[in-house]
């Protein structure tokens, strides 16, 4: 076990495709129980980083540990403790929402499936839709179903790739409160990407800006805003996205 409280340790992570370098010597540490935001413009490498951390994409170089284990070699140890949700991943369309959750509850070997499923459906206001075919759910409802799936096994670590994309403001707020609640009650650690900077400010304990696969700046949302003398993360984002190339040149010097 690691000596620190760090749930995730990433050092010098590089992922190179034939023509693109998606991650370029990127490092980060995520502490136990925090909500950690990965920010950056389209193509910055956020999703790529999550995929490596989940062990489904092998890096070109660098070191990654999750709870002190390699996500590639110790899948058996990690899988029961980790979960994931993304607006881009779905579940079989012709099964009902409840059936799909039941299948995953079985795969995770949950002892009390029914109670767990019903309480999650209720938490995300999906009980009325539980019998509907997954394919007929609206995209916001599917997003919430994915979140139910992600919380089924009471994970210690949750990866969320744009979990609030396609949610209306009311439901997005519900999702944020529910996630916060889980984090507080269960000491859940969340690594999360989003393009909604206001959301990131309220939800994240710390954030990291990625640009072209490099970590540019890191800290609490307030620290980061102060560092760039801006009054919101949104303004920092725009500033960094536009001047990122210059920053790259400076950090590599």
């Amino acid at each position: 076990m690691p000596l620190t409280d760090d749930v995730i340790v990433v050092e010098g992570l590089t992922k190179r495709y034939k023509t693109v370098t998606a991650l370029d010597g990127f490092s980060m540490r995520v502490r136990k129980g925090e909500i950690y935001g990965l920010l950056g413009p389209n193509g910055a490498g956020k999703t790529t980083a999550l995929h490596v951390l989940m062990g489904v994409l092998t890096p070109t170089a660098g070191r990654v540990t999750v709870f002190g284990h390699s996500p590639f070699d110790d899948r058996e140890t990690l899988a029961p403790r980790v979960n994931f949700s993304s607006a881009y991943v779905q579940m079989p369309f012709n099964l009902s929402a409840r059936q799909n959750l039941d299948i995953f509850a079985r795969l995770y070997g949950l002892p009390d499936r029914t109670n767990k499923i019903e309480s999650l459906l209720a938490a995300f206001k999906l009980t009325a839709m539980a019998k509907s075919k997954t394919g007929s759910l609206s995209s916001g409802e599917q997003t919430r179903l994915n979140l139910c799936k992600a919380l089924l096994n009471d994970p210690d670590l949750l990866f969320l790739d744009e979990p609030t994309a396609s949610l209306d403001p009311d439901i997005a707020d519900l999702v944020r409160r529910t996630l916060h609640d889980f984090q507080k009650r269960k000491g859940l650690t969340i690594v999360y990407t989003s393009h909604n900077m206001a959301e990131v400010e309220t939800l994240c304990d710390r954030v990291l800006f990625l640009h072209r696969g490099k970590a540019i700046t890191e800290g609490t949302p307030k620290e980061v805003a102060d560092r760039f003398k801006k009054d919101s993360l949104e303004k920092v984002f725009i500033h960094l996205a536009r001047t990122g190339d210059v920053m790259d040149a400076e950090t590599s010097r």
Partner: protein, 265 residues
């Protein structure tokens, strides 16, 4: 360590997916039954025109048809199951769950066996009702022969799944194409003796060939040719090992070139 519960969950899941979809149910019954009609009426014609006075051809053809379906269906079990995950963008959910690759494969196999079993049953019953076909024509020989075909179908399923992992949706058509690649060379509807000498090494390298020859041998002599059985089994082991290796390599490759996650959503 593999978990029997997770394997059964996978079986349960595919059964649910299948039986809730009219299109998939049609796929299950429509083709084999139509095929049976064609071959069944053909054998009726043979009988009536005295081309098959002993009735041997009828028995051989209908058995060949059933065997072909076993091969075809078991080949598809794995690749269709994988396609199901691709279509519904569910691969990533499974990849990060405690489900292990071999559990998923075994679940898909078991599901394929159930599906194949149902079809075989329907075909045999229909054939006996419509064409006075005797189910007992092969007796217990049916089981070891069908078992070998199932194994070869599964081995080919590993191969097509490997192709899917490598080329994604572009390889979709191959799911249906691969069995037809071996059909002409498996001595299904005719004996090995019809092939020219230069083709025979290929023909004899296929386990399916030995099963079909054995089937005809049982019908003609009533004896079960154990050598053919063992040869088919041996070849099956080789094919399974080779295609498992191929499939795992493609999986690793997909993990490194991003194809695996790109297909997932």
């Amino acid at each position: 360590m593999i978990s029997f519960n997770r394997i059964l969950t996978i079986v349960r899941r595919y059964i649910l997916i299948h039986f809730k979809s009219p299109a998939r149910l049609l796929d299950l019954f429509f083709w084999p039954v139509m095929e049976l009609f064609v071959w069944g009426f053909f054998t009726v014609y043979l009988k009536n025109s005295n081309l098959d006075s002993t009735g041997r051809l009828v028995v051989t053809l209908i058995n060949a048809l059933v065997f072909w379906d076993i091969l075809y269906r078991s080949q598809q079990a794995l690749s269709l199951a994988f396609m199901e995950e691709l279509w519904t963008r569910n691969v990533l959910n499974l990849l990060i769950s405690p489900l292990r690759t071999r559990e998923w494969v075994l679940g898909a196999y078991l599901y394929g066996m159930i599906k194949t079993g149902i079809i075989v049953l329907i075909l045999l019953v229909l054939a006996s009702v419509l064409y006075a076909f005797h189910i007992s024509s092969l007796g217990f020989s049916f089981i070891p022969l069908a078992f070998n075909l199932l194994l070869f179908g599964y081995a080919m399923g590993l191969f097509t799944t490997g192709l899917l992992l490598r080329w994604g949706h572009a390889a979709e058509a191959l799911i249906w194409g691969v069995p037809f690649l071996i059909q002409p060379f498996s001595a299904i509807f005719y004996p090995v003796s019809v092939y020219p000498a230069w083709l025979k090494p290929i023909v004899l390298a296929l386990p399916s060939t030995h099963v079909m020859e054995a089937m005809r041998h049982v019908i003609d002599t009533g004896q079960f040719p154990w050598p053919s059985f063992w040869i088919a089994l041996g070849l099956n082991v080789l094919f399974t090992l080779f295609f498992s290796w191929f499939c795992l390599r493609m999986l690793e490759r997909g993990r490194s070139n991003g194809q695996l996650v790109r297909m997932s959503g």
